[in-house]
Every structure is written in structure tokens, then in C-alpha cells.
Symmetry: C2
């Protein structure tokens, strides 16, 4: 072997810890219009700046009354009140007041006029000229939503790190925010390494570096931007030069392939020339030859070139590190609990990454591990059948029927959840 | 009341059925590069065009051998084979052949040379000049992935209607597809209706029509494109004119507000001048005054102007209809099964839309219905606390502890699922 480069598998937990420690948090914030914030992660708690609702409001269309004026009212013996005005659309204040024996017509969500302390629904009344007949006694605050009943001034409405959904956009605008502080999406540069990829490209294969999409699309779905930086030769100088030239333009780089023990795997030794290898090779299976390096204070990820190990590296190494640095540790991949359908255990001494199919059954969510041999091209269809994964620490056995935490491979996995 | 317009609540199941019948399927297809297909819905089954893997391949780095040559091999009594070549990278064919007493070094995923029928992992061997010592007997096809073991030619790999995930992009490229047939995203024009919205806009409220985002963002998340068409006055001629002018440019229109029984609610009667009201008002609660109309063969949705009823209308009326017309009936909103934490029932005679919070607990997923009064502005924070909904048909009671189907309000809901 022509390599001087040393390959020593660090235990995965220590490896990840050392990598997390190697990079301080440096989330960058952006203030974006709420109208463009869908799917972004909010970078601060959103508080209620006032009580919600701001005033006592009607829950139904009907009449604002003083509840004591309705005492004893029934269908056969209604109470007659004088209608002194109406509030037709929500939020409109007309300076109206309800005195003894009076009522004001109002639509749902309208603020109660001063003096009123209950609402009689329209269907419990009938109109009679300028008067209304109330056919039912109402209690204090009946069909009234009290000021602050929904949220009190100062309540946290949306907490830091949450992904902004449609209803959150509405809520933010409703409390008067038109711009919201979100995490800037880190920009990850991705290149594939391998003479054989270039050869295939020459032969006409459009995307010989197709695992690029595994890394790129997964990272995009969890809040990153990505750039395809092409294919590099199996040449330590070319790889080192590439990293040096590009690291300043990206928040992180990912190199796919060329990270193994093979005769032509050079990424680790390339980085040693220009930065620091935090770890290269770890007790993660598949994903053993994953690596994390630091160049100019930024991460350079070494992603194994097989699809199973690449997936494991993305989920178990890249995403946690990106989360710490750029999202203040928010969990970027959704997690569920599911009942295991079979016994599984870790491979001896290894943190074992097992993909599972997820299926909703009579007893809830079931996870069926893919027991087919992992690694290599066998995973190409397995990954499409998978919805999530379990990472089993060394020495751990999981029983059939046990409820285990499954991490989704990406948030699009939910779209496969159909009617039952 | 100055209205001649007739308001008659159609039972929700009939109303939805009549609306679905009113519009034939007219999905439009696009052929997009696989590289840009992330998150799109595939419009045809993707088949394996060949066996996967295409040849017998090695599962591990090691030596391709004839299994009978290893008979009796042990660590203390290894079998010595002559190494006649090596296959270093996956997929490379070098015309090698393994004869009796021979072996070929190969890396994982490489095709077995002719004559070989098993693989001895590298760690079970040691090199000795031009020879290799095999320390373990291997069986026929040991550590070999057989041609077609992963998928047979003709197997459906990704089925029609699925959302394309990162691993699907890789799989599609792997089987030689660089373009994929997906459903064109229908373009939905959305306008809000209400003089009071215009007034608020004049007073400086940036987004008085903030419920636009509820409709727009939810539809975008399930595969539509949307356009904001502004705010319309409460004027039947203006509304009718708007629909006539715009219907040809969009696949559907949605009008938010102005659909109720109020004195100034004109959308239904406006459509009657230029098209057909399939139904307006239904036994859906909240969402009673929802409507579906047909103008020039396209749907015009009447969306109630309160947030709870608007959400109900989007989920229970708009999305199913959009799905039928433009996505061949694919389920656009993800569904889960969850254990109810309390008894709930429908409101008398009404399909009752109940939002629920979803939480992962020791016994799986739990759904806690929001028992707070629905409708009106009280839902503003409730919707942010909600993750999904249950639609309870009239007369149905659901018990605490029962496993019920919950539809997510949108696919981003999964991002709130954290570690347990």
C-alpha cells in the first residue's frame, strides 16, 4: 500500500462528540417576510404581544346582552329587548353600549359592546321590529370568548427552532409581525470523488455521481441549500486544492467517495495537508469510513461512496453536526415511535444503522427492519422501501414488539402514509 | 335581507360527492429531470428495466472463488489459491475468469468473474505473494448478491402517485432514467373578499388578507402552485367580473370570505351569474358555508372567512377535489393512527372537524382533541398547537383510548416530532 495515512476507527459516540466539540455554534439569522417564511425554522420564541383575543368577543352571530336581562326567558315566555345597533364584521368598534333592556346584533368574533356580558345566539331569538325576542336565559359570559382566553400577553406562541407552517404564518401576521427571524440556510458544497465516475461520465452516463442527490436532496429537505461542485479525480493534490479553493465559499463541504481503505482512496490524506482530520473511520455500520475534518474552521465531511453507508453518514454524522453549528441544535429529522416486528441487534462492537419500513396497523405504527444484508448496491431498492432508521448501539438487542424510536430518513417520508 | 340567493346546507358526504362528480380527471403530465423531481408526485409506475443487481456481485471486499475450492479450509489449515487478478471498483469488468485453485481480488459490489461462485471476505484471508490463504470454508454464493436478488426486471420500484424522495432520485438514475413523468402542479388563484379587508389595508395593515397564507401555503405543501390575486370588494358584480376575467388563467380559483349568510356576503350569488353553484353550505362544522362552483369547467372554491372554517374547507373540500382533478386521486395529506385521549363526538347532524394535538408517548401516538370551542378567532392559537384533525361523521362517538385516523394539517407537521 502506498499510503502513509493512518486509519483508526474511533467509537462512533466519541467520534461524533469530538466532531461536535470541534465546531462552535455559529447560527446566522435572517429577518424574512412572514409571507416567505413557510418551511423555515424560527430562530426566536414568538410571544403574544397582547391578550388574544384583545377584547371579549362573540363566539356566534347573535345579540350582545346583559345576562341578567335574560333571566327566566323561554321559547314560550321570551324576553323582549330593544336592539340599539349592530356590529356586522369582526373587529369593528362602533362606540355602542348595551344598557338595561337593550341588545346589539353582532357577528361572530365581534367585540362585545360596553355593558354587554353575554351573547344570545341568533337561532335562539326572533326579530320583532326594533326589538328582539330572546327565547333562552343565558349565563354570564355565555358564548363570549374572554379577552386573553386564547393566549395571554407574553405567552410563547411558537417556540424557537420550530418549522413555520401555514397556520404559524397566519398567527405571526395576526400578532402584528410581518417579518420573522429565522436561521439562515447553510450552503453546502458537494463533490463526488472517483476516476471511475469521470470515466462513466465520458461514456455518456448523465449522472455518474448520482449519490450527489442523496446528500443534496436530504440536506435541502432539512433546511440547507446545496451546490453541486462536480466530480474530482482520485488525486490527493487535486482534492486538497479543491477544498482549499472552495472552503471559503461554502458553510461546509461534503466529498462523496474516495474515503475508504482502497488503493485509490485519498480524501482523508488530502485533508491532512490543509486542515485537520477530526476523525476518519468510526464504529458505525454501514458508514464505517465516514469522516469529519476541519478546514478554515469549517466542516469537510467525508461521505462513504456506497449508498447505505452514505445514508448512514448523512443521518448520523452530517445532520447532527449541521444542526449544532447552524440551527442551535434543533432536531432536523422527525422522529416517531414504532413497534418492532422482529428482533434485531447491533453488529458486534458497532453502532448499527438499520433501515425500516413503517406501516400503520391496528396497533399503531409498526417498524419492520430490513434484515437483508446492508451495504453495497443491495440498498438501492431497500432505501426506497424504507421510511426510517434505527441506530442500535453496540451490545443492544431490541425485541419484537418493543416500542422503539425511529428517525425518518427525510420529512417527505410522511407522504407515503395513506388511509388505513 | 336583500338577498334572493338561496342557502341550503347539503349533507357533506353528498356535497363532496356531487362536487367530485362535477369535475372529470384532467391531470396534466410533465417530464422533468430526475435532478429536479424532489418532492414531485410520480405519474407512472417506475419499473426495474433489468435485474438488480444486473450480475452476481460481491457483498464485501474479498476474493472471488469457486466455493468447492475452499472445502475444509480453517485458520490453522488454510487453503492456498493463486490470485489471478483484481476488480477494484464497482462495475468494472476486466474479462477475468476463476479456474480451479484460483481467486480474484474484488471490492464490494464488483461483479464476480466467470467461474467464481462465492466470496471470501478479505478479513478471512491473508496474502502470500501471488497467492491468498483462505482460512474459512465458504458455501455456494456466500457473500454474493445474486443477479435480481434486489429486484427482478419488471418489478414496480416506485408506484404511481408517490412523492419522489432523495433515495428515489438515486434509484431512478440508477435504472437509467434521467427524466421522470410527474403531475403538473395545478396553479390556484386565490383572492380574499371583503370591504373591511380593504379598509384595514388602507389603514396600513400589511396583510389584512392573512388567511390567504393558510390556503396558499397548505396548497403549496401538497403540490400546487398559487398566486395571490388580491382583495375584492363586497360587490357581486366585481366578484363575478373578477372570476370571469381570471378563470382562464388558473386551474382553480379560491375566494376567501364573503361566503356566509351575512348581509354583505355575495360570492355565491356572484357565481350564479356566470357559472354553476355545485353546492354552497354543507353539514360540515366548522366550514358550513363552504361552497364549490363550476365556471368554464373549472372549480371556484368559496372558502369561509374564519380561520377554523377555512382550514376545514381546505382539508375536507378543496384538497380532495384538487386531488381528483389534478393528481388522479392520490392522497395529498398524510394520515396517521393515534390513540384518542378523550371521548369526542360529532355535533348533532354535522360532520365535525376536530383539530388534535399529536404527541408520541409510551404507548405510541396520542391525539388530544381540542375541546375548546371551535370556530372564530379562538382557533388562531389552537391551529398552531394542532398537528392534525379528525372528521367525525354525524352520530359518531369516539371513545377515549380508541385508535383513530388523524389527517395531518400539512406535511410540515412532522417536523414537530422530537426525541422521546
Amino acid at each position: 500500500m502506498p499510503l502513509e495515512y493512518k486509519f483508526k476507527a474511533k467509537p462512533y459516540d466519541e467520534a461524533l462528540k469530538s466532531a461536535l466539540q470541534a465546531f462552535p455554534r455559529k447560527a446566522v439569522y435572517e429577518l424574512v417576510p412572514v409571507s416567505e417564511a413557510l418551511g423555515r425554522r424560527i430562530a426566536e420564541d414568538a410571544y403574544a404581544p397582547f391578550d388574544i383575543p384583545r377584547k371579549n368577543i362573540a363566539f356566534y352571530d347573535g345579540y350582545a346582552v346583559r345576562h341578567e336581562d335574560t333571566r327566566g326567558a323561554t321559547a314560550s315566555n321570551p324576553v323582549k329587548l330593544r336592539v340599539v345597533g349592530s356590529v356586522l364584521k369582526d373587529g369593528e368598534e362602533l362606540g355602542l353600549r348595551v344598557e338595561e333592556g337593550e341588545a346589539v346584533y353582532l357577528s361572530a368574533n365581534s367585540p362585545l359592546p360596553e355593558g354587554a356580558d353575554a351573547v344570545v345566539r341568533e337561532e335562539l331569538t326572533s326579530k320583532q321590529g326594533d326589538h328582539v325576542l330572546v327565547k333562552k336565559e343565558v349565563e354570564l359570559y355565555e358564548d363570549v370568548v374572554l379577552r386573553g382566553e386564547d393566549a395571554r400577553k407574553g405567552d410563547v406562541l411558537i417556540s424557537r427552532g420550530s418549522v413555520i407552517r401555514p397556520q404559524d404564518q397566519v398567527l405571526l401576521l395576526e400578532i402584528g409581525l410581518t417579518r420573522v427571524k429565522v436561521y439562515r440556510e447553510p450552503m453546502i458544497g458537494i463533490a463526488s470523488v472517483g476516476d471511475e465516475l469521470l470515466e462513466r461520465f465520458m461514456k455518456g452516463t448523465s449522472y455518474p455521481d448520482n449519490y450527489f442527490f442523496l446528500v443534496s436532496s436530504t440536506l435541502r429537505l432539512v433546511g440547507c441549500r446545496t451546490a453541486s461542485l462536480g466530480i474530482l479525480r482520485d488525486d490527493p493534490d487535486e482534492i486538497a486544492g479543491f477544498i482549499s479553493k472552495n472552503i471559503s465559499y461554502y458553510d461546509a463541504l461534503a466529498l462523496i467517495g474516495g474515503a475508504s481503505r482502497g488503493l485509490r482512496d485519498y480524501t482523508g490524506m488530502s485533508v491532512e495537508k490543509i486542515g485537520e482530520v477530526i476523525f476518519h473511520a468510526t464504529t458505525l455500520s454501514p458508514g464505517k469510513v465516514s469522516g469529519v475534518c476541519r478546514v478554515d474552521g469549517k466542516p469537510v465531511f467525508l461521505v462513504p461512496g456506497h449508498i447505505g453507508s452514505a445514508t448512514s453518514c448523512i443521518c448520523n454524522i452530517i445532520i447532527p453536526i449541521i444542526s449544532k453549528i447552524y440551527f442551535e441544535g434543533a432536531e432536523l429529522l422527525p422522529k416517531v415511535l414504532a413497534k418492532l416486528t422482529t428482533f434485531i441487534e447491533s453488529r458486534p462492537g458497532l453502532y448499527t444503522f438499520r433501515t425500516v419500513s413503517l406501516e400503520w396497523c391496528n396497533d399503531g405504527l409498526r417498524a419492520t427492519p430490513h434484515l437483508k444484508r446492508l451495504g453495497g448496491s443491495t440498498l438501492i431498492t431497500i432505501l426506497s422501501k424504507a421510511g426510517g432508521f434505527i441506530l442500535i448501539p453496540p451490545g443492544v438487542k431490541l425485541s419484537s414488539g418493543e416500542l422503539v424510536e425511529v428517525t425518518l430518513l427525510n420529512p417527505l417520508e410522511v407522504f407515503s402514509w395513506k388511509s388505513h
